[in-house]
Symmetry: C2
Subunit: 201 residues, 2 copies
């Protein structure tokens, strides 16, 4: 029997979502699982929670500016602060869902490329043209991508995925659900791993 | 040369502060350090950050109610949700600072006993009488403790420590500073340990 994938919720504008994205598939694979990537719009989620972007919270915003690159250094991961931060992630998220049903592996490859473009190179992936440029490096047609970003079906899909995430309790990025058990934050991947190993405690 | 203590900021009403308090001294000791406990009033800190108690944040509050006991179980630590939560921690914090200058070891023993009374047994340590009862188990005079809680010098000390914490960037509990390097959250004690081991990365 194939066990259910673990659910990996994130916003493409979240530095900790980026860092988790570098580890989540390997982590899941160590336990015979896959990770289902679910990009969401944290700005929409925040309408439910009343939370604000970290950058707007005094002291905490300063801490995050120091901690995110420090965490990346510890991992040996590329990291730059994009000039545009935080950003709307409608375009990259829609591009991901456009690919997902047809080819999940390619959708995840696009997700990785988009994160790398944004947090590895500082490119503003909120711009549809930039998202299309990134997609083109994977052999996708730029025009096809730009058209997909305006499809009503894709717009509805992202909205529905974000609403489903809120209904599942997701309030931040990254947020991982393993067999119904929720874990919030990049620094909880150790707990995710232990939960997969032990089935809970 | 004795190396400087690591600074351990917390609020007695913080479940993650409690969990960190069970580990911080052993962790510091492994690296030839001590931990200087610094209780603060998070409610006062929140006037600067505009943050709200976790319990008041939709979704995130629910998560914390599930995660804190789960984290305690993983550690094998006693944990109950106190009927009164969160609470004002003026009384236990003042009691700590009253003892600190005269006898730091005893002050920390009181801190541990107060945390255990609150998160291990659910007793409402916001009540001066309860804080005094806990202090009495360490051989301190109840009347002496109750009087100390009303001393202007002690009131001023707690206010000054909380203000100093905000000035140092502290916005949550637990918050650890190692040689000027800040780490927020119980789940970052692994990073604290690695920083102590390596001197930074």
């Amino acid at each position: 029997m194939t066990r259910a994938p673990i659910l990996f919720y994130f916003d493409f504008s979240s530095p900790y979502g980026y860092l988790a994205s570098l580890e989540i598939d390997t982590l899941a694979g160590r336990h015979g699982r896959s990770a289902a990537w679910r990009p969401i719009l944290l700005g929409v989620v925040m309408r439910t929670t009343g939370m604000r972007p970290l950058t707007e919270v005094p002291l905490k915003g300063d801490y995050m500016r120091r901690d995110a690159p420090r965490s990346a250094r510890r991992m040996g991961a590329p990291f730059v602060w994009p000039a545009a931060f935080p950003i709307s992630t409608v375009a990259p998220s829609r591009a991901y869902y456009w690919l997902l049903d047809a080819d999940e592996a390619k959708a995840k490859a696009l997700g990785r490329a988009l994160f790398r473009a944004y947090f590895g190179e500082g490119r503003d992936i909120s711009q549809a043209e930039v998202t299309a440029d990134v997609a083109a490096t994977l052999g996708l047609g730029r025009g096809e991508v730009l058209a997909a970003l305006q499809e009503q079906r894709i717009k509805d899909r992202l909205r529905a995925e974000t609403e489903a995430a809120v209904a599942a309790g997701v309030f931040g990025s990254p947020y991982v659900i393993v067999d119904g058990e929720p874990f919030w934050g990049h620094d909880r991947l150790g707990d995710v791993e232990r939960w997969l190993e032990t089935g809970g405690w």
